[in-house]
């Protein structure tokens, strides 16, 4: 029984189908990423879960409750928006206390209600109850914003604003935390720090989290499981390593990490080894297939690049270096092999020289590392 279950979710916008039969089963405490290119429907999926869009068909369950007919303010979904959507007329403290105020509003009689409204309008006029103040300060301490509690949100840096948005969603102890590209407005370095912050927080609090992103690195480094979407459909759901080593389509192979994808034709299958023809070369793989036309997928780091013909692998080809890029710990070679181009990443060891353009090399790939789709 999952914490968030989506069954057959379909969404039309005035006749145009944007989501097609989406199925998700997200476990309690899981960090789940929705990954896909721009416009594939990630935000729409999330907005359906939050209740801001009404599904055309399909069911959405939070815990064991079907929430299709529940208003968004009754779903207890914490949301972190791409733009943060902080309330510009309130300071950090009041922003974070918002959901607590709302909760109190619901429980109060008319007279008390007026008090809460006044406080939300200007928190200097009506004081916060002690336990409420404590709770807000605890959350602020957690995101390391204690010193900024009484600043206006416009006086904060991007990263700090991000943390206010996070704190504001956390303080309501949501059943699910929904985050829509929360890091896309931050610069490169801050993005890395915030990745760790969010991941750590999620593990500390064990809060079920759905994280929307179009950055595969972000999804792969943070999430327990990733769902890859394209054109309103889910292509594959799996752990990051699963997606990486067993992509079920060339799209995923390409989208998740870098891949060499080559068209091949089936030749034969003998003793657990499939032989496929690419152009006029043959290549062996351990993958079984019953198709005539296959896509051959090789990850760049699985290609060995050697100067001499000392390859013992089953698969070995000749190639010519076209571009060499030094990336710090690795060197990326783009090479011409027959009619095709291949990319190979090799570990750079100090002292070794980088092979230059025009250099003839031998390449080797073990059949275990050749994937056929």
């Amino acid at each position: 029984m999952g914490a968030v279950v989506v069954e057959g979710l379909t969404k039309d916008f005035s006749g145009v189908t944007v989501l097609q039969h989406i199925n998700l089963d997200i476990k309690e405490g899981e960090f789940f990423a929705l990954l896909g290119p721009s416009g594939c429907g990630k935000t729409t999926t999330m907005r359906c879960i939050a209740g801001f869009e009404k599904p055309t068909s399909g069911r959405i369950k939070l815990g064991d409750q079907v929430v299709n007919d529940l208003a968004p303010n009754e779903r207890n979904c914490g949301m972190v928006f791409q733009s943060y959507a902080l309330f510009p007329h309130m300071n950090v403290f009041d922003n974070v206390a918002y959901s607590l105020n709302i909760k109190q509003l619901r429980k109060s009689n008319l007279f008390k209600k007026l008090g809460v409204y006044t406080r939300m309008f200007n928190s200097k006029l009506v004081k916060y109850p002690k336990e409420m103040k404590q709770k807000v300060m605890d959350v602020l301490a957690y995101v390391e914003l204690t010193d900024h509690a009484h600043k206006l949100t416009s006086e904060l840096s991007g990263g700090q604003q991000q943390r206010v948005a996070l704190a504001r969603a956390l303080v309501m102890e949501p059943q699910v935390l929904l985050m829509d590209e929360p890091l896309s407005n931050l610069d490169q370095k801050l993005r890395h720090t915030m990745r760790n912050t969010i991941r750590k927080m999620q593990q500390d609090l064990k809060i079920t989290t759905i994280f929307v992103t179009h950055d595969q690195e972000e999804a792969m480094s943070m999430a327990d499981r990733v769902a890859v979407m394209k054109d309103g459909q889910i292509l594959q759901i799996g752990t990051p390593t699963d997606l990486y080593s067993n992509p079920q389509s060339p799209f995923i192979a390409d989208f998740v990490g870098t891949s060499n994808i080559l068209p091949g034709t089936f030749l034969k299958h003998e003793a657990g080894i499939t032989t496929v023809k690419i152009g006029n070369q043959e290549i062996k793989s351990v993958t079984k297939t019953d198709q005539q036309d296959v896509q051959v997928i090789i990850r760049p780091e699985n290609i060995k690049v050697l100067e001499e013909a000392s390859i013992t692998d089953d698969n070995s080809f000749e190639g010519t270096i076209e571009v060499a890029t030094y990336l710090g710990s690795t060197v990326r070679y783009e090479m011409k092999v027959g009619d095709y181009r291949l990319i190979a990443d090799t570990i750079y060891e100090s002292g070794h020289r980088i092979l230059q353009e025009g250099y003839k090399v031998r390449l080797g790939v073990s059949p275990e590392r050749v994937l056929l789709i």
Partner: protein, 567 residues
């Protein structure tokens, strides 16, 4: 039933209430006017729903509907004259205003005009003064015992220089007090019109004035026509000037409609005149939107290129003299009112005999109520229009409520006197007898000014991103709570700017006040009007000055606000 329940959330109820408000106080009155133009007597619209008897009466009335009133437009010379005179007046006024404004606007926008700042500042005076006060000022200047008449006769003239109580008098007042409406848009047009084209023309050897006639001027013609239509509409629906100046034998639509209802209780006649007014104003509005949308001066965007200002004294000095004369007339008019307000007696002399503050003292002892009424009514209208416009702009921006959007533009084409007549006809009997109450007065004021307020709040609403509201909702707030706690506070600047404007215009409002205000709720404008009718010119003058000062002060505050906002 379930669907109905779903829509009955807090915010849904408010939307329903808004629709109810507009239907009750805008749609039904306008429809009622239409019906009354056939039945010739007011029908009890609301009564028909609660009493069978009334319903029967209404049905009988409808059975006896005739086209007599429509025929009478073409047969009754009173009505036909009124229409023709009104059209003629507005036509002349808009043409003359255009002719006056072209040189002044060119002078301000494109030349090193001497005293440019002073002239510009004086151009705002006419906008502050309600037109019936301007009309009244002309009486005490050009009337039998006016100082202009004195000068004219001293110089050998006979009779009156200009008879203020005539179509000419009305036209002159409107020209001198409406020209700023056209001037500022035109200045903007001259500033942004393509300077490089002019330079090209000059390079090809064209002389300065030739460039003006062949390039500069033609470029601003579409905008000018559009402005002329605005002036036409303003003049056509102006009630203040004609009601003070029109002699009994001069028929104008606004005056005639007022006389039909206030003098003869001729419901059918008032209704048909109201329909004609709305039709003409609506037609002008439609033409303006249809042909000139996007061609208005203020919609010309882009940075004005810095053009060389014309320094030719042969051009600037005559323009300065001309502009000076134009702005001097309203200034002298107001000074005259001021002198009258502090005069002991002022007969047929260039200056009063002596000076006193007695008239002011009298106002502050006996007429304080009118000032209070004005302020209370304006405050009431202010609160009502804030509430309505905030929610309307919410629905218009967030839920694309096209109907509501349309409803708030309807008051733009209904002249004040027409709207007043419509309301009186609809609400003059039980069960909804509101005529003569402060409530209907406040409602009328707010609906009249709603288009301006809504324009201001819609702008602010658009600048509030939808995800801020969604954030509040995801944190547990209902749509209504989010509106109160988030949207409302964020809209305060937009509301503040719009509301001062509403307050000012309500204080200046003439037609609704004169037509609808009961004695115990008489605002300043009605008091002044009655003083003028009773020829109590001194207290009318003092009250006018107080009104103008009040408006000036508020206007200054409003300017302060808008400046802060644009910082």
């Amino acid at each position: 039933m379930k669907r109905l329940k779903k829509h009955l959330t807090g915010i849904g109820i408010i939307k329903l209430l808004l629709y109810a408000f507009f239907i009750l106080f805008l749609v039904i009155p306008l429809v009622a006017v239409f019906i009354v133009s056939f039945t010739n007597e007011p029908i009890n619209f609301f009564g028909s729903f609660i009493s069978m008897e009334t319903m029967q009466t209404t049905i009988d009335q409808l059975k006896h509907a005739t086209l007599d009133n429509f025929k009478s437009v073409f047969q009754n010379t009173r009505y036909l004259d009124a229409l023709l005179n009104s059209l003629y007046l507005s036509f002349v006024v808009s043409i003359v205003v255009l002719l006056i404004c072209v040189p002044i606007a060119y002078g301000i926008a494109r030349t090193k005009l001497p005293f440019k700042k002073t002239i510009s500042a004086l151009c705002t005076i006419p906008l502050i003064v309600p037109t019936f006060i301007s009309g009244y000022a002309f009486i005490i200047m050009f009337g039998r015992s006016g100082w202009v008449t004195y000068l004219y006769q001293a110089l050998g003239g006979e009779g009156l220089f200009i008879d203020p109580y005539s179509l000419t008098g009305i036209a002159i007042v409107q020209i001198f007090f409406f020209f700023p409406y056209a001037l500022w848009p035109m200045v903007a047009a001259f500033k942004v019109s393509d300077v490089s084209l002019e330079e090209a023309s000059r390079n090809m050897g064209a002389k300065g004035w030739l460039t003006f006639c062949t390039v500069t001027f033609p470029l601003v013609i579409p905008g000018m026509l559009s402005t002329a239509l605005v002036i036409f509409a303003v003049s056509f629906s102006d009630f203040g000037t004609p009601i003070v100046l029109a002699p009994t034998d001069l028929n104008l639509l606004v005056v005639q409609a007022y006389r039909e209802i206030a003098g003869f209780y001729n419901w059918g006649g008032a209704a048909i005149l109201t329909l004609i007014m709305i039709a003409v104003a609506g037609f002008v509005y439609w033409v303006q939107n249809f042909f000139f949308k996007g061609k208005n001066y203020d919609s010309v965007s882009g940075k004005p290129k810095q053009s060389k200002l014309n320094q030719n004294k042969l051009v600037t000095v005559p323009i300065a003299v001309f502009s000076g004369i134009v702005v001097l007339v309203p200034l002298l008019a107001m000074l005259t009112v001021f002198l009258q307000s502090i005069a002991t007696t002022w007969g047929k002399d260039p200056l009063p005999k002596g000076y006193t503050l007695a008239h002011y003292k009298m106002i502050f002892t006996s007429s304080l109520g009118n000032i209070q009424n004005s302020i209370v009514l304006a405050l009431g209208a202010l609160v009502l229009s804030i509430i309505i416009s905030v929610f309307v702009s919410y629905f218009v921006v967030r839920q694309q409520a096209v109907t509501l959007d349309f409803m708030t533009t309807v008051p733009l084409i209904v002249p004040g006197i027409a709207f007043g007549i419509a309301l009186i006809q609809t609400f003059n009997v039980a069960p909804l007898q509101l005529t003569g109450t402060a409530a209907i007065l406040i409602i009328a004021y707010s609906i009249r000014r709603l288009p301006y307020m809504v324009r201001s709040t819609v702008g602010t609403m658009k600048s509030i991103k939808a995800d801020i509201e969604e954030a509040a909702i995801s944190l547990g707030a209902s749509t209504l709570t989010a509106a109160i706690t988030i949207i409302g506070p964020l809209m305060i600047p937009g509301i503040a700017a719009g509301s001062l404007l509403v307050f000012i215009t309500v204080i200046k409002e003439t037609s609704i006040s004169i037509l609808m205000a009961p004695a115990e709720w008489a605002p300043m404008s009605l008091a002044i009007f009655q003083n003028i009718l009773r020829a109590e010119y001194y207290s009318a003058a003092a009250m006018s000055i107080i009104l103008v000062v009040l408006v000036l002060v508020l206007q200054a505050i409003a300017n302060l606000f808008t400046r802060k906002q644009s910082d």
